[in-house]
Amino acid sequence: MRGSIKELGETMDQKISKIAEEMSAIVGEEFVSTSIFERVKNALDPFPYDVTRDKIPYCVVLPKNKEEISEILKFANKFKIPVFVRGSGTILTGASRPHKPGIIINTRRLNQFWIYEDYGFFEAEAGVRCGDIASVLSEHGYFLPMWPGSRVIASIGGLASNNTSGHVIDACIGKSADYILGLEVVLPTGEILETGTKGLRKPAGTDLTKFFVGGDGLFGIITKIRMRLVPAKKTAYGIAVFDDLENLAKGVQRMYWEKRPPPLFMEFMAQDVAEIGFKVKGMDPPNGHIIFFVGIGDDELEAQRKMEKVMEGFNKENPIEARPITDLDEWLKLWSAREVIASYLMSETGGRLIAAEVVSNLAQLVDCVKDAERFNQGLPILSELHNYLFGHIGALTMHPTFLIPPDWPEDKRIQAVDELFKKEAELNLKYQTCGGEWGQFAKRTNFFIQRYGNTAYDLVKRLKSVFDPNNILNPGILEGMR
């Protein structure tokens, strides 16, 4: 059979050896690994179950530039070898976990970063870590309008492919796509493409950038991203405490309905979750469910004014307490109490974290919060576990979170993950929404089909085949084979 991987050898070892030889000719021997351990690690993600031998890649390749990636893809196309692109592998939907052997392109060596203040943008290669970009931008008086929980390690290429801004509230500053001016992309067939502009005005009309930013890695490999520089903002902080979730949710609705300015962040923790975070940080236990937020402005007065406007809305919903936080130390403690919850729970219980992303529409937020609170009720497996509820309520997003006990067998763990995404789908269908942080396919493919129908799904499949006729790039994501 011509143009097939079978031409490269009969046995797995022969195939690996031949593929590695070809990869070495492209990127240099020292940047190709056939080590079983390297291959295993590149097949792992945060899901709480092990990888199986039949799914580990043929080899791992560390290309340095778009030209090398182009050559890899041309070779892969010739022999129809799957290629899986990997940044830091932090996504929580399974999209970075290969379902069959292939070549792993790890973007770690795409690590160059440039600030062009005279042009008003920065450029970063796909493997640069979000946290590193944020630090450098901060030194120059700018900020990165993305804040994923995994920012210390998440690569900008992965963030752009998912069009995520993490915990940041879309209604305040938008999403990655709003700031991305252009891309350098290698198509699955090996052609190199530049999209967008070096101006500060995004293209009107056809802009190929849109296929790749938020393209779930289906249509091409983003190798470089150009993003607008965003001046750093001044901030002001607030907190509100409610004795029931209903009032808390109404406070958030009021913010939007009464045209109050959505803050940059608005996080919430159910009381039992807040108790954990507060205890870890040595704070007095909270007397209710906590909501806390960051108003931003070009100067401190504007930030404060915006924060106070949000606060006024909450005050109308009978909070136990609603007040500005002026002591930065108090704010940092509160923020870190939120940040440590997952790590503390895992550390204390030895459990492995899985989380859903339940997104509400604005009108039904009260109902949705209640649904998120009882997320695992009646579920065969997850009902055995406690639901730790927190999330980015300002973005109408909640994360029912569970800790898989260390003594659960593999098959039960797999079932628990499947159950989680099934329930997530059920709720997001009910509220006619979709995930806003972690991509649309992999474990969410069934949801996509249910939510948008076969016509939409077939359209994506046809689009995929236009870009990637041999379906070699990140296969399985669209098919939901994770």
Binding site: E30, F37, V40, S88, T90, I153, S343, R352, L353
Partner: protein, 390 residues
Amino acid sequence: MEDYETILIGKIEELISKCWNCNFCFSTCPINQSMRGFMTNGPSGITQSIYYAIKWNLFDDKVANNELLNILYSCTTCNSCVITCKEMSAGVSILDIIESGRKLLVEKMIGPPTTQKKVLESLAKFGNPYSQHPTKRRQWLKDEKVKFLPEDSAEVLLFIGCTPSFDPDLHNMARAVFNLLKVANVDFGILKNEVCCGHPALKIGDEFLFYELRSKNIDQIAESGAKKIVTISPHCFNTFTKYYQNDLQIEILHYTQFLFELLQSQKIELSKALTAKITYHDPCYLSKHSEIWDEPRKIIQHIPNVKYQEMPRNRKNSFCCGGGGGRMWLEVEEEEKMEKLRVREAKMIGADIIAVACPWCYTMLKTAIQEEKTNIEIKDIAELILNLVF
């Protein structure tokens, strides 16, 4: 009854069950910055490797064994990953897994790498890792008179350690600490039959050899009646505090802590100033393992005219020199040597002097300074201070 290997495997499996592959540990790992960028060049890549070697019983596969050896022994044991995981993720005892993995390889006679095997042989035969006859241990002393414990008695036991004892380049470090104690009229002595504290054996994975070495030291220390142990190397300091202290009930100090006390109580006074911009490189076993970061800085800041400046990565975020975890005796293929990256950081802030408080950091950074062809000087804190006393 479970054998040693089964216990090690059980420990590894239990500890790693908490790791959820978030990879946050990569963000601070020095080998992930210095090596080529493969995922096994990073903490959870290393720990998952030993886990899958156990899970799939890959120990009969020579190629896999060789890969595993390179992966496990590339780690400098700097502890950055442990701190990051504790602060940001599941609090996995990453270093315990790596060190247990090394012990497992040694037990299975797969490890350690050849050059480190020689270190273990030397430790067993000579009581030091440098294949030096024990009689050479006191050559640095020249004709100086000193109390030998436990035959003599003294308040303070100065534990010299192997590198300052045997490496001629580091003799000045031993002499500087020694002379500063004399200046301060401290009642101190050294062990008559000092042997290695055992740190290299522990890090390379020979736990039993470590306990042999420990017992040789601990008997003498107990008999000496000393009230304090002062160590020159942070590695000895860490080993004593973690593995000796329970059986000794004795105060253990790194020399920078003791020196700071002596300066504060004016038992040592500086008669000269030093006009220079100095930065301090935190040794991992003093900072990230032992949380001692203030005293060395306060000593440097005590020097008249000195302009002190931190490197961007400092204290618990400090960047490893690359010499820990047995890597003093191992050639690891790196894209950029860690020690060079560190020297460039000092160069970037315009430092005239990098002050150190660890013999291995001294050696690593001195080599990097030569290779980088910079004018930066490297000075041990004790040497720095001693030069300003007279």
